[in-house]
Amino acid sequence: MSNLFVLNIFLAVGFSVILGQFNLSGLTAGFIVGYLALWVTRPLYGPNTYFSRVGKVLQLVFYFIRELLISNLRVLWDVITPGHISKPGVIAVPLDAKSDFEIMMVANLVSLTPGTLSLDVSDDRKTLYVHVMFLDDVETARRDIKQGIEKKVLEALR
């Protein structure tokens, strides 16, 4: 129930921002429109936790941006130099993330971080299969993902 409420607020803000009228009337209109949108898509929302502290979110954002920039350069290097330096492989990463949203966030951030690409989540939702571009050591790679992105995501969301 509260999750829906939060999402609704989120939509209201988004609407008013997009509309360019970040004031009370804009928010109200956004709330109504968002409510309608949620109402229409109601069956999508099972019971889940949605919102957590804002600080963790910000931490996650900065961590992510740094990762994004740094590892993009690595890919860039591989692309523009002759020959290929990559050592690819596909690894299975055990997941601590439980909810759909957490898993999605982890998987997506893993994908966005260059060098790693989420291929799939196992049916039992306990394993994430990741294609790694520069795979020197399987365990290191696993640990990087678990200690890096997953930890930050879970902190932000729980």
């Binding site: 988004g14 921002v17 997009i18 509309l19 360019g20 009228q21 970040f22 994004l68 920039l69 590892s71 993009n72 890919v75 860039l76 591989d78 692309v79 523009i80 290929h84 990559s86 050592k87 690819p88 492989g89 596909v90 690894i91 299975a92 998987a107 997506n108 951030l109 893993v110 994908s111 966005l112 971080t113 260059p114 060098g115 690409l117 989420s118 291929l119 799939d120 196992s122 049916d123 299969y129 294609h131 571009m133 795979l135 399987v138």
Partner: protein, 127 residues
Amino acid sequence: MTDIITALLLIAGGIFAFVASLGIVRLPDTLIRMHAATKAGALGSGLIFLGLAFFAKDPGTTLRALAAVFFLLLTAPVAAHLIGRAAYCSRVNLWHKTWIDEFADVCDWCQTASTDETDECRLKDGE
């Protein structure tokens, strides 16, 4: 000043996007190419919109530019995941240097697919 930042961001975005395209042509196998396409592409576009956010004079436009970045970053990995999974599981040829594959035994569409279409795979379509 904002002009310079905008210009830098735009050019950086352009370079990243160009590199992504170069990568997609140059890199050796589908999955590796996806690394370039997904990340560099999204980053390149994202930078351009970031530049636009700096450049815009009114907050509404800025926020909308940021929203565009957000949408790009939200959708790019999902698309990448779907293509990657489809590519991997339909047994595209992996580059010869791929040295470990822990997903191979799990993703078994092809073996079952070649025998019978009806109970083809472990992944059922969403109903």
